[in-house]
Amino acid sequence: MNRHTADPVSNDFSDSPAGYSAPELSPDAGEFRPDAPRMSRILHRETHSSRAGIAALAAILVIGFCVYALLESGVHAVGQPAWLIDPQTAAERITALPQGIPPLLLGAAGAVVAMVGLFFFLNAILPGRRARHVLRNARVAVVVDDEVIAASLARRARVAANVTQEQVMVVVSQNLVVVNVRPTSGIPIRSELIRAAVEDELESMDLTPRPEVRVNLAETGVIGA
């Protein structure tokens, strides 16, 4: 589980099956430093939600309410009959509130409104981290969706365990990579081998934050795979 394990594989990138090499820092990497603060700001913005969709939703909600209120007050101002409810009547009903409506309906409406409010409020308060990792590269700032990392690790684990694609499932979260392998019945698998392969791949990716690896071997095997 320790990411500093000094196993022989993790320091030797050349034996990766696809023949990839590790991202080497080019000599001019230092040149990148002047705009490093700006880049780290960009990377922070890319790994966190901008809440643009929620903002649009909130704006549409407010606009809808405003348009309706404008309509009713306009209709009232020119002395026409109200469309749904006259503002005056609405205010009188609201002041008399526990009366005039079944308490169950009132409570349910309150709960629904509170849930919607909680949804918006939590979206504003929570950090809004996206399922992405930052990958270090000498020239470009890179963000990778966790699904891409999982697919890449799954391919590597599948080759190391010598099983088919369907027998490996990898879940990548912020700080943890869980590799679930179902071995083929009768063919033993060493989990250290899989862990070494996956850690080697992670090492060459150089992710921030760097997740730990956990390998789960299923108790039951797959027949005829």
């Binding site: 696809a18 990839y20 590790a22 991202p23 705009d35 700006r38 890319e46 966190h48 901008s50 809440r51 643009a52 929620i54 903002a55 909130a58 704006a59 549409i60 606009i63 405003c66 348009v67 209120a69 404008l70 007050s73 009232h76 101002a77 205010a91 009188e92 002041t95 509130l97 526990p98 308490p103 009132l106 409406a109 309150g110 709960a111 409104v113 509170a114 919607v116 409010g117 909680l118 918006f120 409020f121 939590l122 979206n123 504003a124 308060i125 990958l135 590269n137 020239r139 470009v140 700032a141 890179v142 963000v143 990778v144 969706d145 699904e147 891409v148 697919a151 890449s152 391919r155 990716m205």
Partner: protein, 203 residues
């Protein structure tokens, strides 16, 4: 990378959420706790009669309507305009010029390189690759400096660091062409298209 006003988004969404939460909790309390009902009667009744008094005092001379209605309508229109302005702020920041600089030569004038040059060059270089499902390039302005945003969608199982290295080499070639080190953001994304097509088995 775009200029979405994130802090403003959080503040406005938070205000709306708190208000809805307060209204919802009040409604639920009114339905369940009788003591809240009596308090609400007293408070809202007083507020409503105060408002009626204000309406009475602000009538147009000789007519029964109050000009407070016009004020309310103006406030609502202002709110709608502000909301539309807020939505228009989302995702802004795309520009069309990648490099704008003085020319050191004898010819007067300056040099401008459009973002389309970089966008098309990178897109056509990436289009040849079989391990990518799709790619897209945009030019954005970040704090006054134009930068490129590259989004690629690899097939399942492609190693992201190898892709990043390859794109880095392409960008370095582009740097040599434009003569300027452009900030580049690469987003290696997974899309629905990548999920439902064959995995990359051999490279």
């Amino acid at each position: 990378m775009n200029g979405t006003p994130r802090l403003l988004n959080r503040i406005l969404i938070g205000i709306l959420g708190l208000k809805l939460l307060a209204i919802g909790v009040l409604l639920a309390l009114l339905a369940t706790v009788p003591a809240v009902g009596t308090w609400w009667h007293g408070w809202s009744g007083a507020a409503w009669s105060a408002m009626q008094g204000a309406f009475d005092r602000t009538r147009f001379p000789g007519r029964s309507e109050s000009w407070l209605w016009i004020v309310a309508a103006a406030v609502l229109v202002l709110l709608i305009v502000l909301m539309i302005a807020w939505v228009a702020q989302q995702g802004k920041g795309r520009v069309s010029v990648l490099v704008a600089d003085d020319d050191d030569g004898d010819v007067p004038g300056d040099v401008r390189i459009g973002g389309m040059l970089a966008e098309q060059a990178l897109r056509s270089a990436l289009a040849e690759r079989t391990d990518l499902m799709g790619s897209a390039v945009w030019t954005y302005e970040v704090k006054g400096t134009p930068g490129l945003r590259v989004r690629i969608e690899p097939r399942q199982g492609v190693a992201p660091h190898a892709l990043a290295d390859d794109v880095g080499r392409l960008v370095e070639a582009l740097d040599a062409v434009t003569g300027k080190r452009t900030p580049v953001l690469l987003h290696i994304a997974s899309g629905t298209r990548a999920r439902f097509t064959r995995a990359e088995r051999v490279r």
